[in-house]
Symmetry: C2
């Protein structure tokens, strides 16, 4: 897919292993890969050596390695909006009583970095890191609407436009029209475009300069509420998005607190 020399290829292999959804054998990876046998083999070796992959000698399978978890922890704390947004999400969740999502854009997809589930206690890791489509989710469209044209172009080209429901927008034009509406309105709606019965409103999180950092959404179900009820939350959500954006901006160089570890 991408072509950053060896690094790009290695990342492709990582993705392939990860997307398998379960530990995969060499042969399984081989067909599904464009690389020749020996090449793929050496990549798997190197990545395993590095801990980016894990090799189970009993079952002879490869799976994503724990080094990724360690690195992701750093990404999470340093780079995502999650640490900043956490208190805001807590507040928004308890005020609305609805499900709240915090997402960022990653390779044209929506990456959920945090979530508050109205019903159950927080179940973080199982949600953080999950991905979803951008063209048919509130958060996805909210972010796309405020991308500069070049990045938007690229992002749109990465959409599958798969029809999840009969309300899903399935053409670039339909999407672009909606994005224009979102821009003027300041928030996005998902009207059962991804899942029947699920509606949501979402606001982008922007820097002062207008760069897209992420988005937050409040989700409801058509069974319990209609759009009017949900849209009543828009001003609140927008304000929270702005606050998060401002704080993210301000949070320039916090104390260099190198990885301490208290636990035993």
């Amino acid at each position: 897919m991408a072509g950053d020399g060896t690094i790009g290829k290695a990342c492709d292999v990582l993705d392939q292993v990860a997307s398998f959804g379960r530990p995969a054998r060499f042969a399984e990876l081989l067909d599904g890969s464009d690389f020749p046998k020996a090449t793929l083999y050496r990549f798997l070796q190197s990545l395993t050596n590095q801990g980016m992959l894990h090799y189970d000698p009993d079952r002879q399978t490869y799976s994503p390695g724990m080094r990724l978890v360690r690195l992701a922890h750093a990404a999470w704390t340093q780079n995502s909006l999650a640490p900043i947004a956490r208190p805001f999400l807590d507040a928004l969740s308890s005020e609305t009583g609805e499900t709240v999502h915090l997402a960022q854009l990653d390779s044209g997809q929506v990456l959920y970095v945090d979530k508050r589930n109205a019903q159950r206690p927080v179940e973080m890791y199982s949600e953080a890191g999950k991905v979803g489509p951008a063209y048919c989710t509130g958060v996805g469209k909210a972010m796309m609407a405020f991308l500069e044209e070049e990045r938007l172009q690229k992002t749109i080209s990465q959409q599958s436009f798969h029809r999840f429901t009969d309300k899903t927008l399935t053409s670039e034009q339909a999407l672009r029209d909606d994005l224009a509406a979102i821009r003027s309105r300041g928030y996005a709606v998902d009207d059962e475009e991804h899942e029947p019965g699920i509606i949501c409103i979402a606001c982008p999180i922007l820097t002062e300069g207008g760069r897209v950092l992420g988005a937050i959404s409040v989700t409801g179900s058509t069974g319990r509420m209609d759009f009017n009820q949900l849209e009543a939350w828009v001003p609140r959500v927008r304000r929270v998005a702005e606050q998060i954006g401002t704080e993210a901006q301000a949070w320039r160089f916090p104390e260099s607190q190198k990885n301490r570890m208290q636990a035993t």
Copy 2:
């Protein structure tokens, strides 16, 4: 450090950026790196292109990228013991009322993959992914004690033997003696070796074949309890460790549930 060609070097760069603890500028990374300017520059470019790093154009800083979070999610669900261990940790936590850790070994360090904090509600992502020393923690020693000699050798060579407290084991010999005791006893203890006032007991999680998968620990503080009280939990912890090991073994090839995403 390691030398798997380009991949190894790229991973080193990733680690370097991650260990910075905050978004880092090019120059900062440059001195702290063995790579020449142009080389480091190209690595950062490629990794950024791939989403393994994130470049903030406003501040001109690099930080770990969100692609890592996505990959880590796969690692977490497919490879770690956490999904299997979750219910057991819940049970152990509520029974003991103490802090419970689940850890795995990663590059000679203890990687905490899950945690139950007695006091507060679960706060997952902020704990998962953190690392700690192996030679002076219960979980670390429990795992090391059951490694085969070759891996143990390598792991020991990766220990810093920094003296955290006056009870810290600071020599290979002292550690090896303790590991022998752990092997015969079946569980490890941390007697304020990492932090004053913090004690813990830990059991390894092994496959039937005796391969080390991870470890679990129950932690207490000298203020509230002594070792006798803590060691009363050993049989329970050991049984849980065995159960997790057995389930992990059995969990060969679960339904290939490719990344679905329900959320909106």
